[in-house]
Symmetry: C2
Subunit: 339 residues, 2 copies
DNA sequence: CTGAAAGCGCTTACAG
DNA sequence: CTGAAAGCGCTTACAG
């Protein structure tokens, strides 16, 4: 039975509207489904009645009937990282254009799969978009069974059926190396994300390989774990070494900010004259003059667009074939690298 | 009829589990409702069968039956503002502890109500939590009809039935003024949020009134509109005036960051020796050495906790009575103010 | 402790 | 173009 809230009037339903408009409940439903065959006059009568009652279709009931929720689960490890906050914002505003909404799953740790994510399937979500967190094989299997596409933004995946969207990771590293070489830097270093991040690995490969072409080897690498404090520690190690680098490439802007802070405040270094720093992402803060960071961009809007494209395509074609999209970026030269 | 996805096997249901376990569908349901009367052995048999099939309860169906979705709508104007990102993160992780999730509604503009929010009611959300955006009287009325509590975080509301959670706004202004007076500042200024923000107004009142007690009048006020560029403009106006302030209180950290940037880079001022700056919020970035901002804290965790408390209380008591909670903060002294 | 049945509010063939 | 009816996958009195 209805466990009605004590004081709460029940929200009006199709039947209520139907009664007021003097039509059948099915007619009311048709008034709200585009392309349904219904007379214009009937429709108007219904919409009028609906307005009077303050009727809103119950989307839970609709989901149950259609097996489609118009809800997309977004798994995100850390909203405090401005890059991911940005991606979330973009996804949200682009999805609203097509009448879909985001059910948010934040999880404490990067890289690992959140067991809570299986609950997303309980909500009959139309897709699962993951940023920073990664799908486990079990989760992927469950999603496959349920016909729910998974898209990972900014992370690779070896799991069959998991789609991916990422920036030009390898090229980011190459372009950063190229720019630093051209501007006469001599001692290079890389601040990586985590050891398990394929994204970080590709950026690293691009950077190291390009430097190797110019005969530069043994580039020191420290892991910042994509966190502010982790990157600070990495910077401390690098900057206190006997052969102090004059050029540091960081696997993300967020870490680059931390490296900048440490270089300036703790080591009293002049940026860019004593050390140049390059990030990846181009988050809004990168252009703020407190950081003024040179960076290889990964446009959040384009990443979000690509992810949504994949979801829509897979759902409309009931396709199981994972898709992979690479989004273009470019080096944005600012004040953290010398000319 | 079922519009089954072409390749998609249908997710298993209670009936499937029942068949495999050799019990009735109702029994399966009972196995998943705590406190239901069911034999331990039956339950185990069912759970085992469920595991084999990969069964997950369909929460849409449950919602429909119980009239409770365990979904909370979160309206947030701008995830790029770290304060709100932080609040969202806190809400999300605290809600997951009690098995609830967030349906995200981002909206382009601060302060105004997003018409899209009415759609939240369609999802039968258990509550609507708003940050930065404000409820319109119409929305409040609809929520009231549907028995959905509204809680506004960090914004006031004159609308009956709308609950609010905020920091010590008036006191933030007082304490900032007090600290700046004690540290011998002479020329004060305030960077406000928007004209319609009661939060900004209260901070301003606390600041101005406290200064007035010491005989300081005609404190210049500029509106930063809570945006980075708006605050930069406000800073430019204030800092280029003939009687340049040596102490600026900003209605938010985010605006304070922008003011800091402008003071340092565009006006070449030494902070804090030539101008001291105080914000409100204590977002994580405030402690980063790039900003090292003195600020009056508004702990996101406590705000989230209070909002959830209100929601839970109102829903369990089916109460219509709006609640108001003020969360304590404190002045956190860092390097952006002189000693 | 258990099952059969009604109901939650929709969608959608089906028959007219 | 319209209505009656079955079904989506759950919960929950009711009767046993």
């Amino acid at each position: 039975m209805v466990s009605k809230k004590l004081g709460g009037r029940r929200a009006p339903t199709e039947s209520d509207v139907a009664k007021l408009a003097g039509v059948s409940q099915s007619a009311v439903s048709r008034a709200y489904t585009k392309g349904a065959s219904i007379a214009q006059k009937t429709r108007e009568k219904i919409l009028q009645a609906a307005k009077e009652l303050g009727y809103q279709p119950n989307l839970m009931a609709r989901s149950l009937a259609t097996n489609q929720s118009n809800i997309i689960a977004l798994a995100i490890s850390n909203l405090e990282n401005p890059f991911y906050a940005n991606v979330a914002q973009q996804l949200s505003s682009q999805l609203r254009e097509i009448g879909k909404h985001i059910l948010l799953f934040t999880s404490p740790s990067d890289d690992e799969t959140d067991p809570m994510l299986e609950r997303a399937l309980s909500y009959q979500v139309d897709a699962l978009i993951m940023t920073a967190t990664m799908a486990s094989p079990e989760l992927a299997l469950q999603c496959k069974k349920a016909g729910v596409p998974i898209v990972q933004i900014n992370r690779g995946s070896k799991i069959a059926g998991v789609s991916t969207v990422w920036g030009e990771n390898h090229r980011a590293g190459e372009v950063a190396a190229e720019h630093l070489l051209k501007t006469k830097h001599k001692r290079f270093a890389f601040v990586a994300g985590s050891k398990t991040s394929s994204t970080s690995q590709m950026r690293q490969d691009g950077f190291i390989e390009h430097l190797a072409k110019s005969g530069i080897k043994n580039v020191p690498i420290e892991y910042g774990e994509y966190s502010f404090s982790g990157a600070a520690n990495a910077a401390r190690k690098l900057l206190s070494s006997k052969n102090r680098p004059d050029a540091i490439f960081c696997a993300s802007d967020y870490m680059a900010f931390s490296v900048l802070d440490v270089a300036k405040r703790e080591f009293n270094l002049n940026v860019p004259n004593e050390v140049s720093i390059i990030g990846v992402d181009d988050v809004p803060e990168a252009s703020h003059s407190a950081y003024d960071l040179t960076t290889f961009s990964q446009p959040a809007g384009a990443l979000a667009k690509a992810a949504i494209e994949i979801v829509e395509k897979m759902n409309s074609e009931s396709s199981r074939r994972a898709m992979h999209i690479e989004v273009e970026g470019q080096l944005i030269i600012r004040g953290s690298t010398k000319a």
